[in-house]
């Protein structure tokens, strides 16, 4: 962690600052996306940047996701460092050919002739964010995590968001930078001085000896809430935020599980085939002999996201669910 002077800013402001610094520091960096210019983006993440850097470096684009992704790559191949915003990650499905088939592969399949320093920034996730429904609230990180050649980042705090985005833009590989839209307003301490949070390094957000909880994004906060609650009940929960979903910081996770002998995995995305399965599988592969109990997974339901609050409330795990799962797990006699 950088020392230096800290202020409280929001997750959104932290991302905005990272973009502003990157634009100021490196003339090769530019932003592109729909309505990111004068309008400042659908969520306001790029607000003020068009005024500061102009329309060449903060480029408004037509609604053409696949071509935008291809164009970002092309610009990168000429030495630029594009940062593409896709308004909601749900719409990145239009661009996966370029992202999976080209961004992820060009360096390898061209035998190292090039690098692909492109960043896709996009908000994902739901959780009562405006009851947005099936096309505006998905958590799709698992798709990106499966593709060799991509890196995937998913910060849970303003500090991590700013530092990871700076690192992502400086990275020579394609990085998928996921923002949780329900966290844009969350506040946290962020240094005034520039800093980077290295990709591929998890953060132990809370230390504890009884059980390891792994959770990213908004779920990490639910896990922390559960941990705070359980502390009063005498259960010491260690909460690990992987921060980078790919490459995964296995060592931090394994060290924790070998200490606590119990793991709870939490993800917002639909259960089947999500990142928690990969976390669990790796723990089984590497820490089986240390496990005192089954690994527990909490996840979004395997359903499209419904609109009505009453239904939406059933889709995602919340801190009481996490607390309850931990209680049961800790009580388990092996």
């Amino acid at each position: 962690m950088t020392a230096g002077h800290m202020r409280e800013i929001t997750y959104l402001q932290a991302i905005n600052e990272a973009l502003r610094e990157a634009l100021a520091e490196d003339p090769r960096v530019f932003l592109m996306g729909e309505d990111i210019g004068q309008h400042g983006g659908a969520f306001g993440v790029t607000r003020g940047l068009w005024d500061a850097f102009g329309g060449e470096r903060v480029r408004d684009t037509p609604i053409s996701e696949n071509t935008l992704a291809g164009a970002a790559l092309g610009a990168a191949l000429t030495g630029m460092r594009p940062v593409l915003e896709i308004m909601f990650l749900d719409f990145s499905l239009l661009a996966l050919d370029q992202i999976f088939n080209e961004w992820a592969k060009v360096r390898y399949m061209y035998g190292g002739q090039c690098t692909a320093p492109v960043v896709l920034r996009s908000p994902q996730g739901g959780l009562s964010w405006k009851s947005a429904g099936a096309h505006h609230a998905q958590s799709l990180e698992a798709l990106f995590v499966h593709i060799p050649g991509l890196k995937v980042v998913f910060p849970s705090t303003p500090y991590d968001a700013k530092g990871l985005l700076k690192a992502a833009i400086a990275d020579d590989n394609p990085v998928i930078f996921l923002e949780h839209k329900a966290m844009y307003g969350d506040r946290g301490a962020v240094p005034e001085e520039p800093y980077r949070v290295p990709l591929g390094v998890a953060d132990v957000k809370r230390a504890g000896d009884d059980v390891t909880v792994i959770a990213a994004g908004k779920m990490c906060h639910f896990a922390l809430d559960a941990a705070a609650l359980l502390a009063k009940e005498g259960i010491a929960v260690e909460v690990i935020d992987p921060r980078t979903l790919k490459p995964l910081d296995e060592e931090t996770i394994f060290a924790s599980v070998r200490k606590t002998h119990r793991a709870v995995l939490v993800q917002e995305a639909p259960r089947t085939g999500g990142v928690a399965a990969e976390w669990g599988m790796r723990i089984v592969e590497a820490c089986f002999d240390w496990l005192d109990a089954p690994i527990v997974r909490l996840a979004g339901a395997d359903v499209p996201i419904p609109y009505a609050h009453s239904l939406e409330a059933k889709v995602w795990p919340r801190s009481p669910d996490i607390a309850e799962a931990i209680r049961k797990l800790v009580a388990l006699e092996i």
């Binding site: 309008h39 405006k130 096309h135 395997d302 359903v303």
Partner: protein
């Protein structure tokens, strides 16, 4: 060609256009009251397009709609009560509360649904038209989409596929001058959409979308052609979005003046009002139609409010069909 729309039909249109506007206003009030949290994209100012197009359709004809789709559904004859209930996410809504504003669908009256992924409904409309053609039915399909959607590749793909297959689909671009904050000249390099569309070998028109007569006339011609086996065609309707992109949107990209001028000079309902007066319809008749529309929307609001929330326990039902 100008067809002579009967005064009676124009009166019906007048009421429908008021229904749309009142519905949107009610949606706006719900938004203001914090009763609807999802984004609501109102079609205020664009009522003549939905109405003129849908009046040229038969009940068995189909449409695909967009994130700005309330008007399309109302004009296609969907039940106001169930639309409003859906907006509130109630069990009594068309989608049983699972869709909300951006995913409305009314299969009972031929709406295959609103597709809020920009342009995503367009290929679905083409496929529906193919299905109709393969089944040798004389139905047609309308794909509604915006000026911003023109930039999506699937527009090109869809028009191409429809033209190759001579599928009975009418592509209706509602050019309301904005894609969020982006003006058409920054969305699309094509300046003349008619030239562009005709290059696919299909007829195309660019029309005044604030004149419900003009919309109806052109649509009727397009529909007749498609129904008779003449294949797809393209209509650009020039219109204007009076509200923000969604309720509560800041609108840094335009002046209040610009909007005021549009509202004053190009309100499609006011225009139709004047036209009906000129046809000799009594002001009281028009007031009564307006009043009827308001009452229908008020009844829909009451219905929606009275409806139950979906049972939380049903949240995982019907992901799959049995």
């Amino acid at each position: 060609m100008t067809r002579s729309i009967s005064t009676e039909t124009l009166e019906q249109m007048y009421e429908i256009m008021w229904r749309i506007r009142r519905f949107e206003e009610a949606a706006g009030a719900f938004y203001q009251a914090g009763r609807v949290k999802g984004g609501i994209h109102a079609s205020i100012g664009q009522e003549a397009v939905a109405t003129g197009v849908c009046f040229a359709l038969r009940p068995g004809d189909l449409i695909t709609s967009t994130h700005r789709g309330h008007g399309h559904h109302i004009a296609k004859g969907a039940d106001l009560n169930r639309l409003m209930a859906e907006l509130l996410g109630k069990a009594t809504g068309y989608n049983r509360g699972r869709g909300g504003s951006m995913h409305m669908a009314a299969f009972d009256v031929g709406s295959l649904g609103a597709f809020p992924v920009v342009a995503a409904g367009v290929p679905v409309a083409v496929g529906a038209a193919l299905g109709i053609k393969m089944q040798e039915q004389d139905r047609v399909v309308v794909a509604f989409f915006g000026d911003g959607a023109m930039a999506q590749g699937t527009l090109h793909e869809s028009i191409n596929l429809a033209a190759l297959a001579q599928a009975p689909v009418i592509f209706v671009c509602e050019n309301n001058q904005f894609a969020v904050s982006t003006r058409p000249e920054n969305s699309l390099a094509v300046r003349d959409k008619v030239q562009w569309a005709t290059s696919y070998g299909i007829p195309a028109w660019s029309i005044d979308g604030q004149s419900v007569d003009a919309v109806y006339d052109t649509s009727a011609e397009a529909v007749e052609r498609a129904r008779a086996g003449g294949g797809p065609c393209f209509i650009e309707a020039m219109t204007y979005r009076f509200e923000g992109h969604y309720f509560g949107e800041p609108q840094v990209y335009r002046t209040r003046e610009e909007v005021d001028v549009e509202r004053r000079d190009r309100d499609p309902i006011a225009r139709l009002h004047d036209r009906l007066l000129a046809r000799g319809v009594e002001p009281t008749t028009l007031d009564a139609l307006n009043q009827a529309a308001s009452e229908a929307v008020e009844a829909a609001v009451a219905f929606a409010e009275a409806g139950p929330e979906p049972d939380p326990e049903t949240f995982a039902d019907e992901v799959y069909s049995p």
